[in-house]
Structure formats: C-alpha cells, structure tokens
C-alpha cells in the first residue's frame, strides 16, 4: 500500500482579503489563498497514481499539482487544513469514488481517499489562527489542523 499526497493550486488564483473568512472585522490586514489536498492510499505504480490524479482531480489548463506533501505555497503565516470528519458525508469524495468505480481498466486500486481544504494565511504582523478555526470550521462536521510557518522561514 502506498500513499500519494497531491496539492492542487490554481494558476489564476490570487490572494483574497482574509476578512471574507471571518464574521467580524480583523485587527490587522491579512490575506488568504485556498488549495485542495488529496491523500490517496492505493495499490499500484506511483506513476499510475499520479496519472489518475492529473486526469481526474486536476485541470490541465488552470491548475498545477504538487506531489510529495510539502506545502505548495510559501511565505504564509500559517495554513489551516480542514475536512469532513470521519462518518460525515463528503460529497466530492463520494463523487470521485463513484466515478472511479465505474471506470474500466483501472490502473490502480484505491484503498482510501481523503480530501483536505487548505487555506494559507498571510499577514505581516503575525496572526492568531483561533478566529479562523472558529469561523471556517464547525466541530459538528469538520476536523482541522493548523501548521504554522517554520521560524527559519517558509519553504
């Protein structure tokens, strides 16, 4: 069993004003960008898994895929990963797996697929993740994780 982590970034995406993410004004300006992260557990060749991701989960003209697991963007203050908690219906995941099941000549066997929404936050003067977690995520359906920038500077 192998694992493939793919982060998908939009070539035409630009940073948005982080106030869109929260429900009350921010103390200092901050910006954000969203990406999607897929974690695929599979049986088969890595090249075939990457081909599956490129063919099904990535747009050839508007998106880039980054394999390997290290964050695709740099310069962030932190990033917030969130996804549906186990047992909660993830419609996108279900749709991908349903489409995969209908495929002929499967080159890989998918054992599991996890979808993560990633939000990078950028702020000059530092930024507390608490408010973003509270306003973006809901414990009723989500699980989340915050990764701060390494103090030595972002990758």
């Amino acid at each position: 069993m192998a694992t493939l982590t793919a982060e998908v970034t939009g070539n035409f995406d630009t940073r948005g004003d982080a106030k869109e993410l929260v429900y009350a004004p921010l103390d200092a300006p901050a910006e954000f960008r969203r990406t999607r992260v897929y974690q695929l557990e599979y049986e088969g060749a890595e090249a075939d898994a990457e081909a599956f991701v490129r063919r099904v989960l990535v747009d050839a003209f508007a998106e880039e895929v980054h394999f390997g697991g290290s964050p695709a963007l740099g310069g962030y203050t932190f990033y917030l990963d969130y996804g549906m908690k186990p047992g909660a219906l993830d419609l996108e995941r279900e749709a991908i797996l349903a489409s995969y099941r209908g495929a002929r000549n499967k080159s890989i066997e998918i054992a599991s697929l996890k979808l993560i929404q990633r939000i990078y936050l950028f702020a000059d003067g530092g930024l507390e993740p608490g408010r973003f977690i509270r306003d973006v995520c809901n414990p009723a359906i989500h699980v989340w994780d915050v990764t701060p920038a390494r103090t030595t500077g972002a990758a």
Partner: protein
C-alpha cells in the same frame, strides 16, 4: 415535418435545464429528444443533426465543473462526439454543457473556473456578437442580452491564447462588461469548424419577450426573446 432537424439532448445526473432547452428547440422547429447518459449509444447520434449539452450540475460538478461528466461521456461514447462533429454534426453546450465540451476537448484549450467573486451569479448580461459567420448567431443583432447563472464561468487559457482565439474568430460572444473575470470577457467559444459552440449564458431562458426582466423590453417581432433567435439560427442553418 419532412427534413425536420433532430436535436438530441444528452442528460447526466444533475443536468437540469434539459426540459426548457428542448422546449426552445421545438419552438425553433427541431424535433427534440432528451437521452440520459445511461441510455445513449452511437446509433442515436446517427439520427441527430444537433447534439445539445444543456445546463445544470452534472454529477454535482464536484471536483470541478464538467470533469465527471467528461469522464463518463468518454467511457460511454469514446470519441463518438468528435466523429459526429467531423461528419458535419453540430454541437451546442450551454453553461454546464460549455464546461463539459471544454473538458472533452471539443473546444479550444482552456477552462471555466470559479468566478472572480467566488460566488454563484444569477443575472442578465449584455453580450457582443463576435463570431460573424457563426451558424448559431446569424439571426442575432450585434449586441443583445441573455441571463447567466453560474459559479464557474470564468474562461481562462494559458498565455495569450484568449487573445489568439479572438483574433482567429473563435470567440463567439463576449460580455459587455466584466461579470465573472473571463479572459477577454469571453462568454462563448467556437471550435475551428464553427459547428461547435459553447456559451455560459442561457438562451433557453429568453425564449419569449415575457422572459425579460423589463416589462417594456421591445422584441423585434413582439413575441420572441433573443434566445429564440439563436435556436432559430442553427435550425435554419441545418434545415437549409
């Protein structure tokens, strides 16, 4: 009717504009048949002169608009739609249909991504006709209005491709103003044969004059809306 052109509307789970699109096609003189993707075969394509992919949210548009419908169409039909076009058939993709045709590679390279506002937008827009010889647009004036309703309608393509499409006459329609961030304000696009058209606006929602938001809008003939002329144009092209 003898020589009545036949339109086939391909329906996916989540396609939801097929009924009103069939209604508009019939108003323009077509015989129209909605065929779910599970029941499609190449023989049905043989009988049709026009294949329409109507609006909606095929497979929920999960992952990205049109992707799962593209995969399913490729599985069911292989390259039969390309062959259909190559032997002289016409293809029309409206909204989600435009997104699917793009993903299928039946239109010039590019993608329809999330509107710059990040929102779904339901409103009427001003359009400019760019495709001078386009068989779908012959009966339309240089500028006219149609409604849009989409979240992923921003056309993008690598490098200077959008400008090139404009220069090459592949751009059929542009927005009169920036509504969703589309490169070169592209609202509708043709392939190099001119027989394939994809557009984000919904001509089937402006079939009658009474569809217009302004009760004082004046129809050229007092009855029909601008969408009608689009269906009539392609009907007359095929029937000619």
């Amino acid at each position: 009717m003898e020589n009545q052109p036949h339109a086939l509307l391909l329906k996916f789970p989540g396609t939801n504009c097929d009924a009103e699109t069939a209604r508009a096609l019939e108003a323009a003189g077509f015989s129209a048949e909605v065929v779910p993707i599970t029941r499609i075969d190449e023989a049905q394509l043989e009988r049709a002169q026009l294949v329409v992919l109507s609006g909606g949210f095929s497979y929920g548009d999960y992952v990205m608009a049109g992707r799962l419908a593209q995969l399913e169409t490729e599985r069911k039909l292989g390259d039969a739609l390309t062959a259909f076009r190559d032997r002289g058939g016409y293809l029309l993709g409206i909204c989600n249909g435009f997104q699917i045709l793009t993903k299928l590679g039946l239109l010039p390279d590019g993608s329809l991504i999330h509107n710059t506002s990040g929102r779904f937008i339901c409103r009427w827009v001003e359009l400019e006709k760019r495709g001078v010889d386009n068989p779908f647009l012959g009966g339309l004036p240089d500028t006219f209005e149609l409604p849009i309703a989409h979240a992923e309608g921003r056309f993008v393509a690598p490098g200077d491709a959008p400008d090139r499409y404009l220069a090459e006459g592949l751009v059929a329609l542009t927005y009169g103003s920036d509504v969703n961030g589309s490169s070169c304000a592209i609202a509708g696009l043709s392939d190099s044969t001119g027989r394939v058209l994809g557009l984000m606006p919904h001509p089937e929602r402006f079939l009658w004059k009474s569809h217009h938001y302004d009760p004082d809008w004046e129809s050229p003939d007092g009855e029909w809306g601008m969408g009608y002329y689009m269906f009539k144009s392609i009907h007359d092209t095929i029937a000619a």
